[in-house]
């Protein structure tokens, strides 16, 4: 009991950090000391008051409640509608039955009544059939401010809402919508996605389901379909008879990852088709169509979590039931996507949704083993700058950390509540500007670290369980680190991958990453000349907003700029935060790293304020500011 102050202190820090024994001790202590209980309660209340005051994400609580009420009302309304429809039908059928029983007694009267009832039930059935035929699916869940466009109106999308033919759903970046079809099929609509539900072809009568993916990604889990489901994008058409797949459309390219079953993918313009089977990927671009076995993840046994890049599979598996889900990563701070759709974390981080945390926690604690692999590209680090690269929560079930030039893996390895950590270092020069594959495996008390597929370190941590793990958020990047890191190719397994499996995975991913066309960059010292004028209303309406500014090149440092005056697009607002460059006064000098905006497809749908619209400006290359540092001159 003499450890009670420490237990109380840890409880106040994190209500979920205590093991059973410590919780029992805390309960006993509070029971015996009502004054202590009052103090703990007061500190919890002050903690909450401070959180309400200082955590900007909690300021809109009344709006959240109003949203819940709308969801509730909408759900009730929808249920009432369906009940009314069924009641109308049932009433019609009941009257029909009564009519049969009394036919002999009052035939003439009944003839008239029957005609009326038949008309009523016929109308009800007709209406019901029409209602059914116009219903596409029902909304099962909404994350973020998703909207539905219907008959020229823009409506907030809420749980239990009915999606009808002709509707179009739009989700914000990081948002998601889950739809359930009447036959149980599920469509998960990812963030930054626009999906339409076109009218059925009259000639085919009651045709199969139809979906038009205009931008973004969807994950579909469909049972066997009586008539093929048809999904179209700008360049391709996917025909489905029952399967699980992930379809994404970016720019002029469509990518189809099939997890189970098979999907016929047709290039609309070329008229070519391929059959994409489970484990395969079909890609339709403006130039052609190809089908290949998804090269990565090389290993699928025990796979729980996959993030390749943001335009490719983002899948969450339940290894015990082989069930599949899609997820979005939520950027915060200055976190954003690179031209390869990798995570760029500098003074910011990406956070996975709770379903990811739960699945990893459940899968790995059950098996008592894990493997994490990821591909990193570091900038030159600042000295004494400890950074979390990947971590599962603040008390870190596991984490990849960097301190100076030392990068290491840390694992909660002891019994519940022990706080015991095991670690091993990723030895080698990881700061040469190239991408490196890191992997850590843990099982049977042995923690092993690999760099680029080669074993570099091993530690014995003595216990074979991961019992100390608790529910934690999976995060990529660190809000307080200004040293940038690009992350992609992340996978979590609930088992220890062998050295050969790690080597194969590393070789494959590095081959994928290194075979991509290099995006040329230029680096210049430049003086800010003029900004496009951004209105407050633009900022209020968009969490992410680009603006175009004119800069005068004072000194080229790397590469050859097109002109002495360049047009550069840079963030006015990123993840809801105003950006420093946008607020800088003309005359300020910057060191800029620039890429052609055309080479940054992730910016395609980002709203942009651009007042450089003269013909002479339209023909110029527009650059995207990858990095900006103030220079004192």
């Amino acid at each position: 009991m003499n450890q009670i102050p420490e237990v109380v202190s840890r409880y106040l820090e994190d209500r979920e950090s205590l093991g059973d024994t410590e919780l029992a001790e805390l309960v006993a202590a509070l029971k015996n000391d009502p004054e202590l209980a009052g103090q703990v309660r007061s500190e919890l209340i002050v903690d909450e008051m401070l959180s309400q005051k200082l955590d900007g994400y909690r300021g809109d609580f009344p709006a959240q409640v109003q949203q819940r009420l709308r969801d509730f009302e909408q759900g009730e309304e929808e249920l009432n509608r369906r009940a009314d429809d069924l009641r109308t039908l049932a009433a019609g059928q009941l009257k029909e039955k009564l009519r049969t029983e009394s036919r002999k007694q009052r035939f003439r009267i009944w003839s008239a009544a029957a005609a009326v009832l038949l008309m009523v039930s016929g109308a009800a059935m007709g209406y019901y059939a029409y209602y059914q035929s116009q219903t596409v699916a029902f909304v099962e869940g909404v994350t973020g401010n998703a909207v539905v466009l219907r008959g020229g109106q823009r409506l907030d999308l809420q749980s239990a809402a009915r999606i009808a033919i002709g509707d179009q759903i739009r989700t914000p970046a990081g948002g998601a919508v889950v739809l359930r079809y009447p036959d149980g099929g599920v469509l998960q609509i990812g963030g930054g996605t626009t999906v339409g539900f076109p009218a059925l072809q009259q000639a085919t009568g009651v045709a199969g389901k139809r979906v038009r993916l205009l931008q973004g990604d969807i994950l579909a889990k469909m049972g066997p379909q009586k008539k093929p489901m048809l999904l179209t994008t700008a360049v391709a058409e996917a025909e489905v008879v029952g399967t699980r797949f992930f379809l994404s459309a970016t720019g002029g390219s469509t990518r189809l990852d099939v997890a189970r079953g098979s999907v016929k993918l047709t290039h609309i313009r070329l008229g070519q088709s391929v059959l994409v089977a489970g484990g395969q990927t079909g890609v339709a671009s403006r130039t052609g169509l190809k089908n290949q076995t998804a090269p990565w993840p090389v290993v699928r046994k025990g796979l729980v979590f996959v993030f390749q890049t943001n335009d490719r599979s983002r899948q969450l598996w339940d290894p015990s039931s082989a069930d599949l889900h899609s997820y979005n990563l939520q950027p915060r701070g200055d976190a954003h996507w690179t031209h390869d759709y990798a995570m760029h974390a500098s003074s910011g981080r990406f956070t996975a949704p709770p379903a990811v945390d739960q699945q990893i926690l459940q899968s790995c604690t059950q098996s008592g083993a894990m493997t994490l692999e990821l591909v990193v590209q570091f900038e030159k680090p600042q000295p004494h700058d400890p950074v979390r690269i990947v971590h599962m929560g603040d008390t870190a079930n596991f984490a990849v950390l960097r301190r100076g030039k030392t990068v290491y893996f840390e694992l909660q390895s002891g019994a519940a509540g022990s706080g015991k950590l095991a670690s091993c270092e990723f030895t080698g020069d990881l700061f040469d500007g190239a991408q490196h594959h890191l992997a850590a495996t843990a099982s049977n008390g042995m923690l092993t670290c690999y760099v680029d597929g080669k074993k570099v370190n091993q530690t014995n941590y003595g216990t074979s369980s991961l019992a100390a793990w608790t529910a934690q958020e999976l995060r990529f990047g660190d809000m307080r680190s200004r040293t940038a890191v690009n992350l992609e190719g992340v996978a979590v397994y609930n088992r220890q991958l062998s050295a050969a499996e790690v080597a194969a995975s590393a070789a494959t991913y590095l081959q994928i990453a290194r075979s991509r066309p290099q995006v040329p960059q230029i680096e210049v010292i430049a003086r800010l000349q003029t900004h496009s004028k951004v209105q407050d209303s633009d900022l209020a309406a968009n969490a992410n907003l680009l603006m175009v500014s004119g800069v005068e090149v004072l000194e080229p440092l790397r590469g050859k700029p097109e002109d002495n005056v360049l047009l550069v697009a840079h963030w006015a607002e990123l993840n809801g935060m105003k950006q420093a460059l946008a607020e800088s006064a003309p005359g300020q000098v910057f060191k800029l790293v620039l890429e052609s905006r055309e080479n940054n497809p992730q910016l395609l749908n980002v709203p942009t304020v651009n007042h450089f619209t003269a013909d002479s400006d339209a023909s110029r290359t527009q650059y995207y500011v990858v990095k900006a540092e103030k220079v004192l001159r």
């Binding site: 205590l18 209980a37 009052g38 309660r41 909450e48 959180s51 819940r68 307080r480």
Partner: protein, 189 residues
């Protein structure tokens, strides 16, 4: 005919009054109801989820609220029950202890809830926060705005996690005393 395209039926005056009442109750009580839930040991990141459930439950049964009971008191009663349910549903591990904690904490007396007008604690917090030294405010920003653990804060300010925990405890305790003092002054005025 498409139901979804029909204009919504006009709300009755009863519904409108009901909504108006609810809105003002929500606006006036939500900071304290959330603080009450946190005071029962619900983890910070789950407080708002539970609080939403509380208001939804209240909304569904608003006509059952006894006239002689203040809405805030009624809401706290709902909150207490939902907190119990929350821990019951959450996990088997530590469930009984968590429920016992809710029981104990709900019976514990916090001076912050006893004195002053309902909105006074928040007002007092603003004043007391303004009096904090810069270093303390920086620690609170790292903890609550940046959502960092003591270990991460310690890394950032080159300290130890234990020292950070103690500092945060002292700051919170100082704020609690300051708020209590402000509330008791208000009580005597």
């Amino acid at each position: 005919m498409n139901h979804a395209e029909n204009p919504p039926e006009a709300a009755s005056s009863y519904d409108a009054a009901h909504q108006l009442d609810f809105d003002s109750i929500l606006r006036d009580t939500q900071p304290r109801v959330r603080a009450y839930i946190a005071g029962l040991g619900v983890p910070s990141h789950e407080v708002d989820d539970v609080a939403q459930d509380v208001y939804l439950e209240f909304y569904k049964n608003i006509e059952k609220t006894p006239e002689d009971v203040a809405p805030e008191r009624w809401l706290k009663g709902i909150a207490r029950n939902l907190c119990m349910n929350h821990f019951r549903k959450k996990s088997r591990r530590g469930r009984l202890h968590q429920q016992a904690l809710v029981e104990l904490l709900s019976q514990a007396e916090s001076s912050l809830e006893q004195n002053g007008a309902p909105s006074s604690a928040q007002v007092a917090l603003e004043t007391c926060y303004g009096r904090l030294p810069t270093r303390s405010r920086r620690l609170l920003t790292l903890r609550y705005t940046e959502d960092l653990s003591s270990a991460s804060i310690a890394d950032a300010i080159e300290s130890t996690s234990e020292a950070v925990r103690v500092s945060l405890h002292r700051i919170r305790n100082g704020l609690k005393n300051c708020i209590e003092e402000a509330l008791s002054r208000e009580c005597w005025q």
